[in-house]
Amino acid sequence: MIGAALAIARVKLVLEIRRREVIFAMLLFIAATIVIVHFALSGDTGAGNRAAAGMLWAAIVFTAVLGLLRTFAAEHEGGVLDALLLAPIDRAAIWLGTALAQFGFLVVIELVAVPVWWALFFQGDGPSVGTVVLALLLADIGIALVGTLSAALALGARTRDVLLPVLVLPLLIPVILGGVTATYGAFGEDVGGLRPLGFLALYDLVFIALAWGTSEHLLGD
């Protein structure tokens, strides 16, 4: 199960590393989103920590959705999905492998985007690094999980590209709320200690359970 998922994740990462376009597109997109949101808030860097936190999380979620549009594209093109469905593996491995790859992309994007965000908005006295990194990792798990699940559901839809953001964004609102609140905490505001981080972990667990329970029905006819 884990072996099959890792094999699938590895192939998807290899494919993206060879083509590069998607990763570069996501990097440019997240940079553009941060800049646009910044100017949309009238370019006022004094808008404060809360505005900076919101900017980061909005940019991450929209960039993730952009990346999700390509999930399963390689499988869809060559009919690989049939081969994966017929392979003697748990169907959950297909979804888990894809989610792992998606998680990998998000981490790569954030490795670039977060330092840039930091440099643009804070001179020296930024939020607590550990909390932000932990919040991002926990949120990435949830985004990758729910995103892959939605992408699988939208497979075969006539208007897949329009449909996918509509499916994913409402499901990710709790992640945004948890992530933003955790980031406020990283700025030293009182958010009830580790509660936002705990919430993000709980969200991941709930959707892992739901995805696991439905995975046999997720793909195929």
Binding site: L169, P170, F207
Partner: protein, 232 residues
């Protein structure tokens, strides 16, 4: 069959036609005026039962979705869809009655501090996406399975939205307005319960009427196929 039909249609029809006017009468003639909010508090007897009914309908839709994935018969898919459809109708009413209440109480149409209202906003977006998903897939096994799985995700999303809104809110809005609470006078509570029963009857009525329409349409389609000699 006739006994069953009475149970799912006639009984809720009679109940909702009795209980909903009764709620109006009780709310305006029997219960006293709320000390803080005065007359505008009366909407509580509708807004909150509608919200709870909406959750019940979404829950019904999710349970039927799980049953579909287990049994794989079209009937469960239809029930799940109709449940979510009526949940969305009640959800829309929540999003209409909520702002009316907010306007009367706080002078603004939308209060981002109202937890219930914010959760409904998330759920409204989510269940609208359910309909988009359903209608972008061609009729068949795949559409039914995808709809069922998406409906089941709601089971996770509803509590997660509540928690998320609560976590974010302790910070943004330190004072939280709670409707009713444990210290409701008996007359308030009884009116509320009658209102809830009325709304639930209306929901059962809506679901069973829509289901009957869907079943008839499916039967007509099937007869047309038999006529074409396809009989499958």
């Amino acid at each position: 069959m006739p006994a069953n039909r009475h149970l799912t249609t006639t009984v809720p029809l009679v109940l909702s036609f009795l209980l909903i006017p009764l709620t109006i009468a009780m709310a305006f003639l029997w219960t006293g005026e709320d000390a803080d909010q005065g007359l505008s508090q009366k909407i509580f007897y509708f807004h909150v039962p509608i919200a709870l009914t909406s959750y019940v309908a979404f829950g019904f839709g999710a349970v039927c979705a799980a049953m579909y994935l287990w049994k794989r018969t079209e009937a469960w898919d239809m029930r799940s869809y109709v449940g979510i459809h009526s949940g969305t109708i009640f959800g829309t009413l929540v999003l209409i009655t909520g702002p009316i209440w907010a306007k009367a109480s706080w002078g603004v149409w939308w209060n981002w501090g109202d937890r219930q209202l914010n959760v409904f906003l998330i759920l409204f977006l989510y269940y609208c996406a359910y309909f988009m998903l359903r209608f972008s897939l061609d009729d068949g096994e795949r559409r039914r399975a995808a709809s069922a799985i998406f409906a089941l995700l709601g089971i996770g999303l509803i509590p997660m939205s509540f928690l998320a809104v609560r976590i974010a809110q302790t910070l943004i809005h330190p004072t939280v307005f709670t409707a009713g609470g444990a210290s409701m006078p008996n007359s308030f509570l009884l009116t509320f319960v009658v209102g809830l029963a009325g709304m639930l009857s209306l929901m059962v009525l809506l679901i069973s009427v829509e289901l009957r329409g869907k079943r008839t349409a499916a039967r007509v389609l099937q007869l047309q196929r038999v006529q074409r000699g396809e009989d499958a």
